[in-house]
């Protein structure tokens, strides 16, 4: 058992390292990604700053918190690249048949993919998010976490965001085994993330019904929770509760992922790819 866990850890680190190498394989792409991240954060923060100045009474937080929330969610999105995660990798592998190669290895496919995504996200954190984010935070006068505990909790919450997003992406990717294409499914999925995750609009601005819908779905835990904890809108027991909800979703979705993959693997084994 200990040996299996040790092996799993070594595989995770090795995949993560290679994921990091892959994300820096194309020099031009790297510099463009860095520029894109900076422009994107600057633009979104500016828009929210203008909105806040125009309608300050509509916001339950300060102008500084609003701008920081916008920057944190955008930088988290850059780190997680939610629009091109595991679902795209699965779709590509199903289409070009390289999935078979991954199935030949003595490590489960979902675990291989998780490790790979982790490596790429870790690399983007170090090579894109921090180099773009730190100067922008200084330049735009954005704030540190609401408290030290909030900062730590927000960091833990971001790790859970990664896991949650990976699980959602993987589950969406499983659809490709039936449809052989991400088209359609991807648009619906991305619309849900855009609307209900807090990526573009802080969920505290949502009217009752929409807020109620977001409460019962896992998407709010992906971007809203870590950013709301960071800026201190959620703090103390509320922040811990929000992170517990994240953890609960991560467990539930992992069980769903395992069951979904087991079914897909059975169908794949019976039917071919």
């Amino acid at each position: 058992m200990t040996s299996a866990v040790g092996h799993g850890g070594r595989v995770l680190l090795a995949f993560a390292w290679q994921g990091a190498r892959t994300s820096t394989a194309y020099t031009t792409a790297y510099w463009m990604e860095l520029l894109n991240a900076a422009v994107r954060v600057f633009a979104v923060v500016t828009v929210w700053a203008v909105l806040y100045r125009s309608y300050p009474q509509q916001f339950p937080v300060t102008g500084g918190q609003t701008k920081t929330y916008a920057a944190v969610t955008q930088l988290t999105a850059v780190m997680l690249t939610w629009w091109s995660g595991a679902h795209h990798r699965i779709a590509r592998q199903v289409r070009d048949g390289t999935l078979y190669v991954d199935l030949l290895r003595p490590v489960s496919y979902p675990f291989q993919l998780l490790c790979w995504e982790l490596g790429e996200s870790a690399a983007r954190l170090g090579l894109v998010v921090l180099p773009a984010g730190i100067p922008l935070f200084v330049l735009l006068g954005l704030g540190p976490p609401g408290s030290a505990a909030g900062g730590l909790l927000s960091a833990a919450s971001t790790v859970l965001s990664f896991v949650l997003l990976y699980e959602c992406n993987f589950l969406v990717g499983l659809v490709v085994f039936r449809t052989l294409s991400l088209k359609g499914v991807q648009h619906a999925y991305h619309a849900l993330i855009t609307l209900l995750s807090g990526l573009w609009i802080p969920l505290w601005l949502y009217p009752g019904p929409l807020a109620a819908i977001s409460q019962v779905l896992p998407f709010r835990s992906i971007f809203y929770t870590p950013a709301a904890v960071y800026v201190g809108y959620l703090d103390g027991p509320a922040a811990v509760r929000a992170c517990a909800v994240q953890l609960g979703w991560a467990v539930v979705l992992w069980l769903g992922l395992e069951a979904g993959w087991a079914g897909t693997r059975r169908a794949l084994s019976a039917q071919g790819g």
Binding site: A14, F15, Q18, Y26, V101, L104, P106, A270, Q271, G272
Partner: protein, 334 residues
């Protein structure tokens, strides 16, 4: 000792059958047909054997390999590799077999070959010393040193195949499944790959099952040939036996001094003619070469002659041609 056992293996797939119906009808009420890719195939392979698994496109070769590698579950029948049941014991099996699909690479596309190998070291949990020794051996035999620091996407096809073979053998498997490993390679690259496979078979007792459309692979590597057609095994024997069965004749090309009427005897006949040259075919079971030469010298004003022994390529071509023209009921049965 038997390494691979395949008994009455059958594998069917359910495929969409539009059958001329409209796209809307197919969407609303899809129809399916059952495609039998492999039908009752049985064979065994002993440890250290190198066996060619031949058949026309769509015959069921890759499906069999995928069943052996644990990717596909048989619809019926049994498969055992190294004493393991592939689908049920897939992870254990992965440590005992290597697989190379010529059309697909197992290398991570954007990282250097060496990095892929380092990753595989972790995946297969190889001790560092064993990994280093193995890598050194592969460097020597596959000439990896010249491109091991190059990302897979920048390799030539020949280099990529060598790197893929290295990846498949890094963990020291006892069985190697090769699915068209020389496809698209130039003559030198093919030769270097064959030399490597032969040497590994000799030094490590590696068992090899090889599918290919290049008959030089078969001639240079395999002592035994399995032929599958329309999902059924239609031949299991040596290269000499397959030749005897499918091309029971030999052709002789004669340079002649002047044209004479074509020969059409019993078991000897002229099959081609050009100015100053004609080709005669005789059935080997009826005549020996000296007998035929005597008969030919009597009929033709022979200046020179060349005996064309049938190549495996010619044998297999003939086999595929006759398979394509024969109705299913008259195709050779195992």
């Amino acid at each position: 000792m038997t390494e691979v056992v395949v008994h009455e293996l059958a594998k069917s797939f359910r495929v969409r059958d539009a059958g001329g119906r409209s796209a809307v009808a197919q969407l609303v009420r899809p129809r399916y047909a059952v495609k039998e890719a492999v039908r009752g195939v049985s064979f065994t392979i002993g440890r250290g054997e190198m066996v060619a698994y031949l058949g026309p496109n769509g015959a069921g070769k890759s499906t069999t390999i995928k069943c052996l590698a644990g990717i596909l579950a048989p619809t019926s029948g049994t498969v055992r590799v190294g004493g393991l049941t592939p689908v049920r014991q897939r992870k254990e099996l992965a440590r005992r077999v290597g697989v190379v699909f010529g059309h697909k690479t197992s290398l991570w596309w954007d990282v250097p070959v060496l990095d892929t190998y380092q990753l595989l070291r972790r995946v297969y949990d190889l001790p560092r010393a064993r990994f280093e020794a193995r890598l050194e051996l592969l460097r020597d035999t596959l000439g990896l040193a010249e491109f091991e620091r190059t990302p897979a996407r920048q390799l030539s096809l020949g280099q990529r195949m060598r790197a893929d073979l290295g990846a498949a053998l890094l963990h020291g498997p006892s069985v190697l499944f090769l699915d068209e490993p020389t496809v698209g390679l130039d003559v030198l690259a093919k030769e270097s790959l064959r030399t490597f496979i032969r040497r590994t078979n000799e030094t490590e007792g590696l068992t090899v099952l090889l599918t290919t459309h290049d008959m030089r692979d078969v001639e240079e590597l395999c002592q035994r040939i399995l032929v599958i057609d329309h999902g059924r095994l239609v031949f299991d024997g040596t290269p000499a036996e397959i030749t005897r069965r499918w091309v029971p004749w030999t052709e002789i090309t004669l340079e002649v001094a002047r044209p004479v009427p074509p020969m059409a005897g019993d078991g000897i006949e002229e099959v081609a003619r050009e100015p100053g040259r004609c080709t005669v075919r005789f059935t080997r079971s009826r005549y020996s070469l000296p007998e035929v030469m005597a008969v030919l010298a009597n009929h033709y004003p022979v200046l020179d002659c060349r005996v064309n022994e049938p190549t495996i390529e010619a044998v297999v071509r003939r086999m595929y041609e006759s398979s394509a023209t024969l109705p299913a009921s008259r195709r050779p049965q195992p």
